[in-house]
Symmetry: D2
Subunit: 288 residues, 4 copies
């Protein structure tokens, strides 16, 4: 998708008010932008208007580096709009964090290698050496930071420096089995995507498949979410489930769950890369 | 299904041991029973063997009223088998409890009226008068027991007497919005089927759709389970989900959830009537 | 939902052109209409723009009986817009056609009786007497028109007259097992909703469950569609599936399929009543 | 799973007859085999009995290389049993055929590399050079056989020789976009697994997503099946679907479909490796 025409993507939310769609689309139209995608949503309880608009820049009158400023000056301040503007010509940089299980990282890298995503993955970080080979197979730098209670703060500091060095825009926790500290999380607000191996909020925390087995549920789930400082409680991006039965052992749950985990995580990463996810009050609006 | 040939259904579990299938099937075969269904399961953690066998009685050498005694004497005591024997010629009696919402009871009665189930529904009990018409439409006795904190004990006693009068074998709570007391539940162990409007154990208790909306989940669920003395914690029979998005209001969740609730509940009632559900240690084995 | 505020719903499609959303929303806004729903879609292959807008009429400057004329004069002719305008204060009239199976009609009537839909069902038509009781239970006129090769034309004529007498706006075929003639269909273009008991286009025609069983598929499906003169080939509104296995007999497929059929059909009827379905070139746009 | 204890797996079918389960389980028990899995199925239309039994060999009295002979002599001939016996200590060899798309092969190799399967993949064959890198990444021999109308016979002959050289037991077509000749197929009866990118039997042949888009379906599917001499008509192993809407372009269908294809194919390969698939009269029995 990297060979697509250069477009701008506006993700915005503001207090709902009459004429807001007309106003924004008019801004794009009169300046020669051709809208190729528009989707909007009104939260009638919070009375908030959400919109995603994408338009082609080839004949757009405002220089691309000035769009943000113009929109901010002309509309955002006036209508109390919170927005982000993305240019698809920019290729965001993504880091992957892993531990020992490979199913999620392989799924991510298979898509990446096939050229499906407008992203660059310069670095993989792990707290274990087990998947070093995966980095080699795909030619991606692989750094190991073993984490213990004692060295956690130091290691996270080193990780953050490394992320800065690689100019990483967002992080994907591909079954990274280590809780990240609040300080770290605050550096990447709504920019760390995690996959939790249960249908949240059921089975928060460690060993959710064991808990699911114990409870005798008839479905298992997987949940991708942005990481916030409260464990497993950030804005949910996507969830999916698989049917199970009494025949399934804990091992079977873990095995079946891996397909859910990797697909749900990859979908969420894709949505994030495509700038289709908006967060608001610990919830997401996911445009399609 | 009531016109099927007379069959016997054996539901059993026991410590797993070599030769148990051979032994039971041999018992049936040598006595002239034709097995038309056999399914088994071994829980390798608890080391428990579960089986459901159904066989035709037309040429079975043991009189049907003696099968239980023979099996008990010859095998059950010896091999530590816990079992129940059902004859399909017996038509179990089912009571429906409702409050104000009609989607579940209509789904149950539509199937019942179409003759899908080997069951008799002689009575509907409600804590509200709202659905009295439903009883009239389908010609089923409808009794109203308004429940308050003060009269709960008395009303439940009256309900229990009524259930005895109608010779009710099991109870279906079709969105009955009133917690049943422990004393009542103990009268019908694993014989009260409830539908909870969430994917348990997420969102236990009242207003699960509100909680789901608040948390921003991307799926809603419904769970049928046998009622035990711990609220919403009994053995789960069936669960299903529907995909939702940020576009769905609480009202939309409630509306979409009703289809899940009625289908999951009716499936569970069907499985129960067909004697396909075995409970063990707060979990179910559901044969298919 | 009949007690909602009076709103107008505009369903439209036209050649895609810049500024079309701005133009229509502006028309509503400047005349004092409060938009409570807007969804749009662009078919980039056909280059067609589709939109559904709903707005409150309480402060709308144009009298409701004049909106259609105004929109037609000011915009539709000019921009080559094909549109339909609906006022939610009008309660459409729906006829149900059935044969012998009751699962779909019960599901429709349960929702209708619960007041879920802004619709009036004055009449049920059947080619068999089997479900006459259903009409009685719900107090709806039930007319029987046995159809044979010889009398088909006469009977359909009588049915059409009856539909006119009851001022029926659209027809729901709730497992009506009789092919409707082209002449009849042309009287209700995109106004006859059928449920086909397969995942179309697999297993067109009669006995799809038998064909599915024969082929050894691992899923069964149901498809709702508008009836056109080509059998089972009209615009698809909704489809769903259920997983099956080698264990399922033809009878099991038929039984499991009934839940799909009734839910898919009722969803489609609901979408139709809510004016959320647009047809274009034998396909549907279904807004949500 | 390669570190599991050595077991024997018996897959069998025969005319249904009383006592068949008892007889086979008795054969295993009296010879000291511990049954760790048993599942059976009776096709009541064809009157055929199917069974899969797995037992531990550690204390089994019959030498493993003699089990087949003994079972054949003592039972198979007598009861008209068609059976296959597998020892889990044998590691089957699997070849992958690919063309240009990488999603399926990456999914297969990720599972393989993680050690999930009791299989050896010595060779990848392709009619295009595009995915040669994938072979290199995973250290698997990659052979290119460009196929044209003229050279097809010769190339297939060379492929068959190569497969023999690598002692390949079964073949997985991971989106191999080239029809295989009947002669080739006959060399690997029920040993070639294909993934078709539609819900078969809908959209047989080339470009099923285009056909699905054209028809306006609301679901897309994927179907894995054993390859037979009739195109896309072999025994179905697994099927799954994804929901789509009018918003999805053909490209979106292709993109969403890839997740279905890879998961359905990998599941089927796993079932095949685990000896859980039995074929009978162009249908499969898939034990779980």
């Amino acid at each position: 998708m990297s060979n697509q025409n250069s477009t701008a993507i506006l993700l915005m939310h503001c207090p709902d008010q009459p004429g807001i769609i007309a106003m924004v689309t008019d801004f794009i139209n009169v300046n020669g932008g051709n809208i190729i995608y528009l989707d909007q949503h009104v939260d009638r309880i919070e009375n908030v208007f959400f919109m995603r608009v994408e338009w082609e820049l080839s004949s757009f009158a405002i220089p691309k580096e000035k769009i943000e400023e113009y929109f901010s000056t002309l509309y955002a301040a006036k209508y109390n709009i919170y927005f982000r503007l993305y240019l698809t010509e920019y290729v965001p940089k993504m880091a992957i964090f892993v531990s020992k299980m490979s199913h999620c990282i392989y799924d991510l890298l298979a898509r990446y290698t096939a050229g499906e995503w407008n992203v660059k993955i310069p670095v993989i970080i792990s707290n274990h050496p087990d998947l070093e080979d995966v980095g080699k197979r795909f030619g991606i730098d692989f750094h190991i930071f073993p984490v213990s209670k004692e060295n956690k703060q130091t290691q996270e500091k080193a990780e953050l420096e490394l992320l800065k060095k690689y100019k990483v825009d967002f992080i994907v926790l591909a079954r990274y089995m280590q809780v990240i500290s609040e300080d770290f999380i605050r550096q990447y607000p709504n920019k760390i995507i995690n996959i939790h191996h249960s249908f949240l909020p059921a089975f928060v925390g460690a060993k959710p498949y064991h808990a699911a087995f114990e409870r005798g549920v008839k479905l298992i789930g997987a949940t991708s979410h942005y990481v916030t400082t409260e464990l497993d409680a950030g804005p949910i991006i996507e969830q999916d489930i698989a049917y199970i039965s009494h025949k399934d052992s804990i091992e079977a749950l873990i095995h079946k769950g891996q397909d859910l985990e990797k697909i749900v995580l990859s979908h969420s990463v894709e949505k994030h890369i495509q700038r289709k996810v908006l967060t608001y009050k610990n919830k997401t609006v996911v445009f399609n």
